[in-house]
Amino acid sequence: MSVDLTTEQQLLKDAVRDVVREVMPIEAVMRQAEQPLTIDDDALWLKMSELGLPGVLAPETVGGAGLGLVDVSPLLEEIGSALVPAGFAVTAVISASLLLRCAGERAGSLLGALASGKQRIALAAGNAVTARRTERGYVLEGSVPLVAEGRVADTILLQAELAGAPAVFVVGKSDLGLVIEPVLTMDPTRRFDRVILTNLNLGEQALLAADLAAGAALQNVKEAAMLATACDSLGIASAALTLAVEYAKVREQFGSKIGSFQGIKHLLADTLVATRNAQAAVRYAAMAWDANAEDRHEAILAARVLAGRVGVQSSANCIQVHGGIGFTKDLPAHLYLRRAKMNEVSEGSVRESLQAIGDRLEQLHVS
């Protein structure tokens, strides 16, 4: 029971934890990680849909729960801790956030399909795709190198450059000219794909947003994605710390439990403090996001940096504390490390976030 959560938030978090444990426990994750190109979380997605989780952010008018990021962030942490695929993060949080910011009937109906769990929707962002007007609509060309959950998406929301400005298109998985190729990455717990568009023709209704509206929506969603990644890393940090502490309590060498040695104790105490700090910063960022506070942007950047780093720090320490067995696949420790390190460099990386903060410091502190 976490004192930082409301009763409702705690119930949601517990529900996710229970579902994950039942349907995709760590042993299943470790087994699937041996074949990352064929990761299957259909059973998990089905259970989550039964709980209404895909619709957490969607408004009640389309069958969603109308919750905020502050309610959803503990769920994202839970998913990070469990190392299960990112279906929830991608569809329910990132794609939902984008659709919420696109006006029009098409966006609304997509949100409804998303909220029901019937449509898995991925987002292919970035500057890799160009769009051109045609008689009947648009034609798209390009290749997005890394799209989370691409291969299981029924629908892909695509960022493209249209007449020199950002635009958001909707692409269906069966659209002609669309090829989705699985990509192997450092992280075998999640699905990543290359999305290739070759002379892909779309009708007028495929354009969800353009120009300033699209630019603003995409910027907003980038922040939501950064926060979701921060939550995933935070979940990893907590799980890795727990695993390390449990081991340190039982493993004996030189006649003592290794947790009594100060080298180990201090390492874990530092990880505890860093995790607590990141957790507070992530919570603050989620609140600032929901309140559209004036310091929202810096708050998200800072949370992204702190959580991104502690995810790696904690999982690295976890391996170290386990000694020799930390280097084997008998433990999930290496999966924590891989996923945490991938989180560090994914969209809006820790490095870029630090740079962005650095560039704003003069403006923030010199008045």
Binding site: V245, I264, K265, A269, L272, R276, A281, A288, A302, G358
Partner: protein, 400 residues
């Protein structure tokens, strides 16, 4: 529900309180405070008189004993209000509360553990600033291991006779009273034979000597006890229950030890310093992308410290306890103050190593002063190493 307060989205009540503090500070700080226009006192006596006057203003403004229950002359402020008050003071670098030992932890300890007579006699003068207190706990052989203290108090009729030595006694030279921990029983386990006493600094046989500190100040003192007579009614709580007094005092003190706001303040100053050209040049440290990266890193840590601190206070609202949050905060922020000052010297070039030897009240503090000064932070109030042990043992429940 637990929330983290921020000036961007705090409750209306907290926002009003914050405004009230800001306005009072703006009205009561001397003209030009924090700028070159302010003329600070030039002598130590002058500084002391200034600080005593500030203490009286705090009392007149109703801010002394903010945390104390109203029945004892305080304002009964919640932890959140205390934190907001603290934050606003740090924001404008307000003068230190010279009576902070009294209002921060001696007073609350007397409220918790003292007799009615002691409360009547000692509480009000703490608030008004008439009596300043110091803490006689640490000894040359009892620092981190406080329970090993050896200063001895032997019963002799209606008084105790005290012999021994205390060290690191902050502000002893300017104090009228001391809360002393002394050994009253040598036959029992060490922390069961300690008692707490109220001692007048005027007592015959009590000798105070300043310690020469590396930051140039001499606020810490050694205090020697040579057959010092302490009336029996000056025992706080019961004989041999002094360890409880120590715990109560230290836990109140811990709340005041956070540097969550100080690190924000230091970071802001560092950014401002980094926006000044290097001495004799036109380019500035902040123009260098690698400097910006270093500063951004510190920004994130300082931001986290503040979030974690406010989160702790909110947890306390729900659970009634701070748990080990203050120890975590102290460990993190004390180390961070060192990192910030260290970075300052490293990135500012020669600008960081010049300036006044000792900080002037209300004036700018040279970075090299800060750098040396921050070394105290990871030692006093629980060393970083001891704190890591405490967190490992009590929070992570690792084997001892």
């Amino acid at each position: 529900m637990v929330e983290i307060t921020s000036p961007s989205f705090e409750s209306a009540a907290h926002r009003e309180f914050r405004q009230e503090v800001r306005q009072w500070l703006a009205k009561n700080l001397p003209t030009g405070w924090g700028t070159a226009a302010f003329q600070p006192p030039r002598t130590e006596d002058g500084e002391h008189a200034f600080l005593l006057d500030w203490k009286r203003r705090l009392y007149a403004g109703g801010w002394a004993g903010l945390s104390w229950p109203k029945e004892y002359g305080g304002r009964g402020a919640t932890l959140m209000e205390q934190a907001i008050f603290f934050e606003e003071n740090v924001r404008v670098s307000a003068p230190a509360d010279i009576g902070t030992a009294g209002t921060g932890y001696v007073g609350p300890m007397i409220i918790d553990e003292g007799s009615e007579e002691q409360k009547k006699r000692y509480l009000k003068p703490i608030l008004t600033g008439e009596e300043i207190w110091c803490q006689g706990f640490s000894e040359p052989n009892a620092g981190s291991d406080l329970a090993s203290l050896r200063t001895r108090a032997v019963r002799d009729g209606d008084r105790f006779v005290v012999n021994g030595q205390k060290v690191w006694t902050s502000g002893a030279r300017r104090s009228q009273l001391m809360i002393l921990l002394a050994r009253t029983d040598t036959e029992v386990p060490k922390h069961k034979g300690i008692s707490g006493f109220i001692v007048s600094m005027d007592s015959p046989g009590l000798d105070v000597r300043s310690i020469s500190q590396i930051n140039g100040a001499s606020e810490f003192c050694e205090v020697f006890f040579d057959n010092v007579s302490v009336p029996a009614e000056n025992v706080v709580g019961r004989i041999n229950q002094g360890w409880q007094i120590a715990q109560s005092t230290l836990s109140h003190e811990r709340f005041t030890l956070t540097r969550a706001f100080e690190v924000q303040f230091l970071l802001k100053n560092l950014v401002q310093s980094a926006c000044q050209p290097y001495p004799g040049r036109t380019d500035r440290p902040i123009d260098d992308p690698s400097v910006r990266l270093q500063l951004a890193d510190l920004y994130c840590e300082a931001h986290a410290a503040r979030c974690a601190y406010y989160q702790s206070i909110n947890r306390h609202k729900v659970t009634g306890t701070l748990g080990y949050d203050m120890q975590m905060g102290k460990l993190h922020t004390s180390e961070l103050t060192k990192r910030i000052s260290d970075t300052a010297i490293s990135i500012l070039g020669t600008a960081g190593v010049m300036g006044e030897v000792a900080p002037r009240l209300g004036g700018e503090v040279a970075w090299y002063y800060q750098f040396v000064n921050t070394f105290r932070n990871t030692i006093a109030g629980g060393t970083s190493q001891v704190l890591r042990n405490v967190l490992g043992d009590r929070v992570l429940e690792l084997p001892r």
